[in-house]
Subunit: 555 residues, 2 copies
């Protein structure tokens, strides 16, 4: 396997986070005789950065927990020396890389000592930098990004000492949403969440799904400002004035969470190829355009399941890439293949997860889409702890291939995203959803999983039998027909509807004029689908139903 | 698609449970003009039978909940008439099927009325019968099986009125385990659980995994009797005396839950082919040996992912088969392919789930196996609600194909079974585990999923670098080396070990004689794996580690 011939290898890895340290540990395991140096500019390395919002929220007591192994040992340079056999240099800056002579120049930030390190192979695991709004100084006392342990400690101290009662969060991606929750739940701070796009979690969700999350955020007291592009932030005697293109928001502090940018300065300086999305270009072996230089983690471009490239900064991918690079360094053939970009985020009591492309993103890639939605119980509906989930399945109507999947609600969504994500990776199509097998018992699942039901609904839709429409689509001049039970209609009235319970509908289909446009609604989308079919059978031409039903939109 | 040519089709379906009613509803949807009759001997049909133990336990208030749709409508014959357009005959027995003349003879149990029904296509969804021990009369006042709503109501009444304080459950499959929990938690009854095999859940788990579940059952107060074959049950003045081949157990009542047998009397009478495991033989179209007769649900034999046949009575499979039969009746090509047998069961605070074959079952099919285990946090270890799970991955060492997967613990196991089950269906191998993608965020997952870690451990094992041994294997004359931290070793001592913390081991490897046999142990199996590797590097020949570690076995 080539380990032995590489055993005296000198390896330098830039970046002591997930990808870099995983690559280093793996390479050292496979080649105990190799000499591996890992360089990082920060003092604190190898921490669970995704856990920082939960330190801020108080769910995690001390940031030290994020730096410990599961058995409580601190992952500091000494740990990596003793347990992994690695030479980890913290607070150390790479000033130059001479790729021709294979020489890395370092400076220790603390001592000022400079040094040159020879290498046979180099790994860039330089990560990504949070994007700051233009014109805001890096050391602003009231405005910052949120990335490091120090950031989290700083904000928590402000909260603990009562210095912060109101904050604006600019950007409603994962970090923005997690921080909105942290500031609100634990500290009762007043949060203004500002988003440039017309929906929150814009890279993850379409408008219809985003609507459900927004609703939940508002219920929790978060102040939402969508379609607001920040044009300036003015310092005021009592805080900040955030100027957007359609309103001004007054607050005390601001965190900018508008995304990250791959750190590719070193790669550029070395003349490595950079992709169109701004990440380092690598092949399946995670090799850059120079055969002795590998790259992994948030600084690279990966290949999406549909063949296009993207920068997808996720810790889970960085870890896998790190291990693959470790293998490659030892001469193994391990590849890092395509990604589907499965992701999840907790939003107060809601679980939000998605995989593949949203309809919005698919349109950007030129992929045609159609969708089906449904509201489901996440486990057997008669089991006491059942919760609701609103799911959206996106597919390509030309090929019937699955394109993406999104879910929002209090129940178990992540499981479905994980199953569907791995099907997507294998270019799954709608028919494949009917072949999926799920472990079933009432406390854990429904007897037919929602993914099965959605697959069947999509196939029905493609046969032209019945059509769904999103709740986000503007109501046309249609008759809205409510097919819920009399009890439901009485207790949870839906405005401007006529009401015929499903149980009576077979006999009463003729109460609706044959040429009238009908949109049918029920609680979850199951009965309205059935009703739609009957109208179609009875010869109605213009009938559809509200996908996912009424329940989650209004409860 | 052939719907129109079949539209006047007469279809008779025997059995109004999951498979039968799903087939009927689907066929009627696709062929509104068809005439579909569903026949069942029982009075109560279409109930969530898997929910009955949770009615007994009090988690579900009324058995009516098991018969309702998610919007609260009772699924009785009238519902099926009005909403599904089906003619459902309850309390009706099929006395004869004349396949040549396509005639079903019926008798209504209540009225005694007889009738003959003509059919074009017939579906057998006759289900399975619980197996009773020989010599026990069906109407015994203190001994019964557990299958119907009436069974559950009867037992609950006994509990509510204080007539039952002690009960023996014979058989520790799903039903036996669920009943043991129900009787214990809600009613504080004293339960003796009797199992013929040397482990509980014998069809699902191997001995090592079963051990963990047994430990939990004992902690909850369930009295375990393994390797006990019941030879007689004697009526006593004050209850029952259960005689087994190695002990006698005194109790008040007994439930026999030793499995089910496919109901194939009608199929046999019609001369249909029956398979070697006792189920009706069907092809991929769910067609029996007679082309106009289909069969689905617990009465058939399905094809396992590895190509062999089996009877796998699971509600989730019955529902999928039902829909496929509905499609077939309408002339569609929908197939029911292979199954992996993913299943799960709640055992007090433990989640237990598995897919594919256990090592024991694989041996019966002649498939060679090897395994790796690990104890994992089910989500990020620093997130407050993290729980432990003990997982076992089974593979074929000759082909590196995955064979099965089992999990036990308080954390989320079902998700992993669902992902792995669907990989297994596609003949996944160990390398594929490294390509799986999981949505990651600290409240939901670990940054590297346990399935990834197990895949890597198995590949390491196959490279011959390091070997695992099960805790269930008898301890040999080996040095047991504890590599946990000094705090762990002090607070949770493991007997007869020497202790060198992992952090000191690189420097102290030479404290152990090179030719000594060493077995290494830690808390979860991670550090012991790492330590094993170092001993191998240092030239030790006989070193291995305890897979899954010490924690779950002893906590």
């Amino acid at each position: 396997m080539g380990e032995s011939k590489n055993s005296g290898l000198k390896i330098v890895i830039v970046g002591a986070s997930a990808a870099g340290l995983r690559a280093a540990s793996r390479a050292k395991r496979l080649m105990p005789e190799s000499l591996i140096t890992v360089i990082d500019g920060e003092k604190i390395i190898s921490y669970g950065a995704c856990g920082l919002p939960y330190y801020l929220s108080g769910d995690i007591e001390s940031p030290k927990a994020l730096r410990e192994t599961s058995w409580g040992t601190l992952r500091d340079p000494e740990f990596f020396k003793k347990v992994k056999g690695l030479d980890v240099r913290i607070q150390t800056i790479v000033t130059n890389i001479d790729i021709e002579n294979k020489l890395v120049s370092l400076v220790n930030k603390k001592t000022g000592d400079a040094e040159n390190l020879q290498f046979d192979k180099l790994v860039l695991a330089t990560g990504a930098t949070p994007i700051m709004l233009p014109g805001i100084p890096a050391d602003h006392q009231r405005i910052s990004t949120f990335k490091t342990v120090e950031d989290a400690i700083g904000w928590r101290k402000k909260l603990e000492t009562g210095q912060l009662e109101r904050i604006a969060i600019i950007g409603s991606g994962f970090i923005g949403i997690e921080l909105a929750e942290a500031f609100t739940t634990m500290w009762d701070a007043k949060v203004d969440l500002i988003e440039m796009e017309n929906r929150i979690l814009p890279k993850m969700l379409d408008t219809d799904m985003s609507f459900l999350v927004e609703k939940h955020l508002k219920e929790q007291g978060v102040q939402m400002h969508k379609s607001c592009r920040v044009t300036a932030i003015n310092d005021m005697p009592d805080g900040l004035e955030i100027v957007t293109d359609n309103k001004i928001i007054k607050t005390e502090y601001a965190i900018v969470g508008v995304g990250v940018r791959p750190r590719v300065e070193l790669a550029k300086q070395m003349g490595l190829k950079i992709g169109e999305y701004g990440g380092i270009t690598v092949n399946e072996n995670l090799q850059t355009s120079h055969p002795d230089v590998y790259a992994a983690g948030d600084c690279i471009e990966v290949e999406y399941f549909h063949g296009k490239k993207a920068v997808i900064p996720l810790g889970s991918l960085a870890n896998k890439q790190g291990r693959a690079v470790g293998d490659q360094l030892a001469g193994r053939k391990t590849r890092f293949k395509k990604v589907v970009g499965s992701a999840c985020v907790k939003v107060f009591d809601y679980n939000v997860a998605a995989t593949g492309l949203s309809e919005t993103m698919a349109a950007q890639y030129g992929i045609p889409t159609r969708a089906v939605c449904g509201t489901f119980n996440d486990i057997a509906h008669y089991y006491p702890e059942d919760k609701n989930i609103f799911l959206k399945l996106i597919y390509n109507p030309d090929t019937l291939q699955i394109v993406g999947f999104q879910g929002v609600g209090e129940g178990n969504i992540v499981k479905r995203v994980d199953v569907l994500g791995n099907l997507l990776m294998n270019e799954g199509c709608l028919e494949d959803l009917l072949d999926l097998e799920f472990a079933y018992s009432p406390p854990y699942a429904s007897v037919l999983d929602p993914l099965y039901v959605l697959g069947a609904a999509a196939l029905n839709q493609e046969e032209g039998v019945i059509a769904q429409h999103s709740h986000a689509e503007s109501p046309a001049n249609e008759l809205l027909l409510d097919v819920r039970t009399p009890d439901e209609a009485k207790n949870y009235p839906i405005e401007n509807t006529i009401h015929i319970p499903l149980e009576e509908l077979r006999e009463r289909v003729n109460e609706v004029e044959e040429n009238e446009a009908i949109k049918i609604i029920c609680s979850r989308g199951t009965r309205s689908a059935e009703a739609t079919r009957w109208f179609v059978e009875a010869g109605h031409k213009n009938v559809s139903y509200v996908r996912g039903g009424w329940f989650m939109l209004n409860k």
